[in-house]
Amino acid sequence: MKKHLRELIESLIFVSLEPLSLEEIKSVLQEFEKEEIEQAIKDLLESYVSNERGIQITLSGGGYFFSTKPEFDMWIRRFLKTAKKSRLSRAALETLSAIAYNQPITLAETSTLRGVDSTHTMKVLLQKKLVKIMGRKKVPGRPLIYRTSDKFLTYFGLNSLQDLPSQEEISKFLEEKEFGE
């Protein structure tokens, strides 16, 4: 079976409806060494990169899952008869950015950062489960504190918060923008 570990993991990812985490894979494959499993996953991902395939295995939000390549979007939508998926509003995206880089954060702090009252936007983000309430801050009024959720990571194709654009990327973006204008 050792020989087929790579294919075995592939089949687990295939049947899983949620992104499949490394921990879950390990707990199912008790017979195998942790190192073996990790190596097999690495091999599996590599085999998908090198082979010319329509689907890929992606690691995001802490789990592995199959997805199509972005360049086939148009035809897949035609086949599924669906319109383009709707994007987040500017306000929602801005609020998420403020939360992601300053979490845990209260609603008032978010509003101050944006200079705009964010009550409504926060409600929308909670409904979409892109942010979650983590408790209350120990300051007068005991305001709720918010964090980004795992769904937030998957939504933007990030594996962890470390994959968010780095300070260098942000500075580079700002510089380029200034030159562009």
């Binding site: 997805s67 979007d73 599924l80 801005e94 998420l96 200079g115 705009v116 654009p165 942000i170 700002l174």
Partner: protein, 244 residues
């Protein structure tokens, strides 16, 4: 201020007052750390004046920043003791603008990621475990089952006016019975089956057997619509030989 007029932008197109301020600063190609506060305040107020009526709900935030600008302007005008030691009154605004500018940059970077991700399609539904020609069925919850059971029990109760001690039933036997029925037919109609039970005790035992079978993941109970009859299927028809 000819410049500002030749380039009309509506207030609504800004995400907030900081967005508007950044726009004004960038338009004039001013260094964000060294804002000519008088000019910028004038530009900013001019934008607000373009609106004939101020909608307090939406634009209170714009007014808030206007007051901050005027406050800073007044501080700059006032003579200060030792300029080196004192903090630049513009600093509060500069800090906020820099933070906001960063958030805007992050938003733009995340937007790119969002666009890319939205084009990736993921598997979202499990392949149906049931026969293809069947209409969409929903798996019933324990509560649906229990509700149907109580309904049937009520019917049985009415019939059960005299009690004669009958046969003893065991869950194991009943489970075997249900499975052997399922071996021959595609599915078992839950209502029919209960109506065939002879006594209250037998009904009870068969209901528990059914729950056992569901728990053991040997059978699956489905329902086309709420209040419709519940159908019991074998989860894996090939397995049944081993169990029976």
């Amino acid at each position: 201020m000819e410049e500002a007029r030749s380039y009309q932008v509506k207030l609504e197109s800004f995400e907030g007052p900081l967005d508007l301020l950044l726009f004004l600063i960038r338009k004039k190609k001013i260094d964000i750390h060294d804002i000519p506060i008088a000019t910028i305040t004038k530009d900013y107020l001019e934008y607000l004046n373009q609106k004939e009526k101020i909608n307090l709900d939406r634009e209170a935030e714009f007014l808030l920043i206007a007051t901050l600008l005027i406050y800073i302007k007044s501080q700059v005008l006032l003579p200060r003791g030792k300029p080196e030691e004192e903090e630049d009154p513009r600093q509060i605004l500069v800090d906020r603008l820099i933070d906001y500018q960063k958030i805007k940059a992050i938003s733009a970077l995340l937007r790119d990621k969002e666009e890319e991700e939205l084009k990736r399609w993921k598997r979202s539904a499990p392949p149906s475990p049931l026969l293809q020609e069947e209409i969409e069925l929903e798996e019933v919850s324990l509560f649906d089952l229990a509700e149907s059971f109580f309904l049937l029990m009520k019917r049985k109760e009415l019939e059960n006016t005299h009690i004669i001690k009958g046969k003893e039933y065991s869950i194991e036997e009943k489970m075997k019975e249900i499975l052997s029925i399922l071996k021959d037919v595609a599915y078992l109609d839950f209502f029919d089956y209960f109506c065939r039970q002879k006594s209250l005790q037998e009904s009870l035992v068969s209901f528990f057997s059914l729950l056992e079978l569901i728990k053991a993941r040997i059978v699956i109970a489905t329902q086309e619509k709420v209040f419709h009859s519940i159908k019991v299927w074998l989860r894996n028809p090939s397995q049944v030989e081993i169990i029976v």
